[in-house]
């Protein structure tokens, strides 16, 4: 037990009350100090550092609005669509709560994508922050599961056929696939059983996992300390400190960043409210028009596409055709050949490389392209987990990396956005070029580009001359 603190009988009532609690629940007071008033964050944060706080804010919005939606929603295939319309039309202010939740889903992905890009820019995943990044990637995965299952609940046409397509992805897995898809659906088709279990996952299971991961993400972050736009360790062994041992380049999170973040929160809430009140469907991107038609298991809408935040990955799935599999095989042959001829490895490892490549090629020729599409789509997310080890640049921050690295990031973002755009479009959106489906060719090249960016990173990130990194962070008082 902690030492019981006595307080002067002349102390104010407030101080006495605080002391009473601190003696009985010191953990809370320690946590406040460790995570708020004595958590020293670098003083040179720029606007990119708002998105972590905003993600937490959106999480709270989603949980609160979700609690209220569940009070009126009915997870039943016969009643679900009607109950959402009931919320929209008959429940007082129900439309606002529902639009906050549906807009919140898209807002969540916007801030999380920007938050992840910030990590990429400043090398926030580099040692010793690998686990912070990995917990973050796990949060991203959980968020995707949460969004996907939540999208089934309104039981509109897009809900139904989107779930049908995504669950069928699992059936592409050789041998266990069809049984796995059956276990996910709980029926031979997407139906009432599927709706009920997705509801359960969406409101209980995944949010619990998500909250646990967010706690792990923050605890790990506060253990190793925040990175900053200069990529300099403000709490490193040689970092300057004041007489109390606090880093000179850091400021306490509370009150400095809590107050600072209120500005970002205000700007965010202005944009968020504008969407909710003036464009809750966001032109069909946040709420797809086909989802205002009740689910009809006998008719697929003329054009189905996932919600925008999944479309880059969906494009990659669609890009994998039989021809694309040959292109992937060519990449494997090239990589294995390079490893065997150029790699300075014992011959036993070279043998392993050759055998592994041969096995991969045989599998790729014998299993449908559909399965490899699923592998590519999954791989596009899984590869993010390995980023801390793929990046071999001698400096963390883009500020001190060779200038052309900025163009690499720019091209990567461009490819990711074009993939996202094409994922919304129907097949053949850009017509034919030299007899080929142009949109499909572009998405195939950019899919290879996306993977090339990551898989070749151990080489390209080492190239070029990094600029000198200063000893102290760049900071101008304002």
């Amino acid at each position: 037990m902690a030492v019981f603190k006595e307080i002067s009988p002349n102390a104010s009532a407030g101080a006495k009350l605080t002391n009473w609690f601190e003696n009985r629940f010191p953990t809370a007071f320690d946590a406040y100090r460790v995570h708020m008033s004595e958590y020293y964050a670098p003083k040179n944060f720029n606007f990119w550092y708002i998105f972590g706080s905003l993600a937490l804010l959106v999480l709270v919005i989603q949980i609160v609005t979700g609690i209220f939606l569940v009070m009126h929603y009915k997870p039943d295939a016969a009643l679900a669509f009607g109950s959402v319309e009931y919320i929209m039309r008959d429940v007082p202010w129900g439309w606002l709560i529902r639009y906050m939740h549906s807009t919140g889903a898209s807002a969540f992905f916007i801030v999380v994508y920007l938050h992840m890009f910030r990590g990429l820019l400043y090398g926030s995943y580099r040692k010793p922050r690998e686990l912070v990044w990995i917990f973050g990637c796990a949060i991203f995965l959980a968020l995707m599961a949460e969004a996907f299952m939540g999208y089934l609940l309104p039981w509109g046409q897009m809900s139904y056929w989107g779930a049908q397509v995504i669950v069928n992805l699992f059936s592409a897995i050789p041998f266990v696939g069809p049984d796995l898809a059956l276990l996910i659906r709980g029926d031979y088709v997407v139906g009432d059983a599927t709706l009920n279990r997705f509801f359960s996952f969406h409101v209980i299971a995944v949010p619990l996992v998500l909250l646990g991961l967010v706690v792990a993400h923050l605890l790990a972050l506060h253990d190793v300390g925040s990175n900053n736009p200069d990529g300099i360790e403000i709490k490193g062994p040689n970092a300057p400190r004041d007489e109390k041992g606090h880093p000179l380049d850091g400021i306490p999170f509370h009150p400095y960043y809590t107050v600072h973040d209120i500005l970002g929160v205000c700007l965010f809430l202005m944009a968020f409210s504008a969407v909710i009140f003036f464009a809750p469907e966001a032109g069909g991107y946040f709420l797809e028009y086909n989802n205002f038609i009740p689910a009809n298991p006998f008719q697929t809408p003329a054009h189905i596409a996932p919600v925008w935040y999944f479309t880059p990955f969906y494009s990659m799935l669609r890009a994998v055709t039989t021809e694309m599999v040959y292109a992937l095989i060519a990449c494997i042959v090239a990589a294995a050949g390079f490893g065997v001829i150029k790699g300075k490895l014992p011959s036993i490892f070279k043998g392993v490389i050759v055998v592994a490549a041969a096995v991969a090629i045989v599998l790729m020729l014998n299993i449908d392209a559909k399965f490899w599409g699923v592998v590519v789509m999954g791989g596009a997310v899984v590869i993010l987990f390995f980023l801390p080890w793929l990046d071999q640049s001698p400096v963390k921050s883009i500020r001190y990396r060779p200038s052309w690295h900025k163009y690499m990031f720019g091209v990567f973002v461009f490819m990711f956005m074009v993939l996202g755009y094409l994922g919304i479009q129907p097949p053949g959106a850009w017509g034919a070029w030299a007899g080929q489906d142009l949109a499909q060719r572009v998405s195939q090249v950019f899919t290879l580009g996306y993977f090339g960016f990551f898989l070749l990173m151990p080489w390209w990130s080492r190239l070029g001359e990094p600029k000198p990194v200063p000893d102290r962070v760049n900071f101008a008082a304002h």
Partner: protein, 199 residues
């Protein structure tokens, strides 16, 4: 660490208890995972469906529900039936040889993929990712289709095309032809979907 030597008998029992606990934990997971399976009610819903096809005119298609899936019954015109053989070299699997046990019952392993050449019965679900293809019976050039389109079905999700016998064209995402469900004629105008004579 204490200097007390390890009591190997206690250690053995600790391991044994731990293993027993793990077995119990796994055993407890079985009923929970099993509850993901289709319920008895869902399994029972797979009964055969009887359909009256007397009102179906040539070049028309009707849809009935079987096991929650759309089953198409299309009455093809004699010209449409005659056209089928011309598509063969553009199709991925014109003779329905791929996974015949799953997709084509023995009595439908012919050019028309049907018992009677006129009537085509198929599950209206694309084998790619489960969308329901839409009718594109009118021949000729049109959006998303080749200029020499002879009439058939187009999957809106990923662009797979099928001819009027539900056979998939080459280089399309769908790996297989549309599934022909087990079916039999009870009389000239009554069709039973979900059961055939062998059952």
């Amino acid at each position: 660490m204490s200097d007390t030597p390890i009591d190997s008998s206690k250690r053995t029992w600790l391991i044994a208890t731990g293993c027993a606990g793990a077995v119990g934990g796994v055993a407890t997971a079985v009923p929970f995972v099993s509850s993901f399976q289709p319920s008895e009610k869902a399994k029972a819903a797979g009964a055969a469906v009887e359909v009256d096809i007397s009102a179906l005119k040539p070049d028309e298609k009707m849809v009935v529900a079987w096991r929650g899936k759309p089953v198409w019954i299309m009455r093809r015109t004699p010209e449409q039936v005659a056209e089928l053989a011309k598509n063969d070299d553009k199709l991925a699997d014109p003779k329905s040889l791929r996974k015949p046990d799953e997709f084509t019952p023995p009595y439908a392993r012919n050019e028309q993929r049907s018992i009677k050449p006129e009537y085509f019965v198929a599950v209206g679900i694309c084998p790619h990712l489960g969308c329901s293809p839409s009718d594109r019976f009118t021949p000729g050039a049109q959006p998303s289709l080749p200029d020499d389109w002879p009439g058939g079905f187009l999957c809106p999700c990923h662009g797979s095309t099928f001819d009027l016998a539900g056979r998939v064209y080459k280089n399309k995402p769908s790996p297989d032809n549309l599934e022909v469900p087990p079916h039999m004629y009870l009389s000239d105008t009554r069709l039973l979907i979900g059961e055939d004579k062998k059952a």
